[in-house]
Symmetry: C2
Subunit: 157 residues, 2 copies
């Protein structure tokens, strides 16, 4: 069911641990790999899914790491640039982020009554994306698909 054929260099990158991917990115930009940045990435890996900035701070505290809110946000920003995480925006309240590097993109279905969130993966969407990009001459990078629906166990009112 896989729609994209990763190139060999992509495969190589995917197999490398995330931390070296991040380290490599930082080095390429002349930036430093600090303990705080390592701690933030560890906490994100530990959550392994959707997270928001505040939750990330809690996870860091839970693991006994003291990283300021500012550094946390600054690291999130770097991880976005590095393509290790992406934003997943559900509402205008706050941003959610998602560990994406080396993973198949996950799509989301949200219940409009209960707020229940279901993750799913549909490779055909990647095919649609690639076809549309090809038609317009664009180079695909990523995509997000969100379904708004009502779950079967939502109250009938």
């Amino acid at each position: 069911m896989s729609a994209t054929q990763p190139t060999s260099s992509e495969m190589r990158q995917q197999m490398a641990p995330l931390c070296s991917v991040f380290r490599r990115y930082l080095k390429s930009k002349g930036l430093k790999y600090t303990t705080e940045r390592a701690d933030v990435l560890d906490a994100i890996i530990a959550r392994d899914g959707l997270f928001e900035a505040e939750e990330l701070l809690l996870e860091l505290r839970k693991r006994g790491h003291r990283v300021s809110k500012a550094t946390s946000y600054r690291t999130i920003s770097l991880l976005l640039e590095a393509g290790i995480i992406v934003q997943a925006l559900f509402d205008s309240k706050q941003a959610h982020y998602q560990l994406i590097y080396g993973k198949e993109p996950r799509d989301h279905m949200v219940c409009m009554k209960t707020g229940t969130l279901v993750e799913f993966h549909s490779p055909e969407l990647t095919a649609v994306r690639n076809r549309i990009c090809r038609e317009l001459g664009w180079t695909p990078v990523g995509h997000r698909f969100q379904i708004y629906a009502v779950s079967p166990n939502a109250p009938k009112t």
Copy 2:
């Protein structure tokens, strides 16, 4: 109350139903259909596409309507509840909104280099959505598909 005369047949067709849909929604909630709310909906119809809160205010001013920022936001909120518009979130900076009622959903492709935005419509996405909902027993309401890509005219760096 002075209803603005529609200037094109397209607008005339669209305006009547939308305004009654909104009026009906408000009545069902025991709320009032005020000139300010009508003006906001008119301005949204005039833009006929993606808009953000600040742009909406400019459109209102352009049409000679004085609606406060607060009322504008409050009306946007009501239109969201009524299912007439939906949020289209591209970044965590600010919300974008989209007139959706009675239209096929429009999807978006964003250039990650230039910020160029292209709208497209892909009916097969609706089919994918409906199939996934059916499989899980959910009732589909809407969906959003966003492609992140690089446009052909973006600088190569």
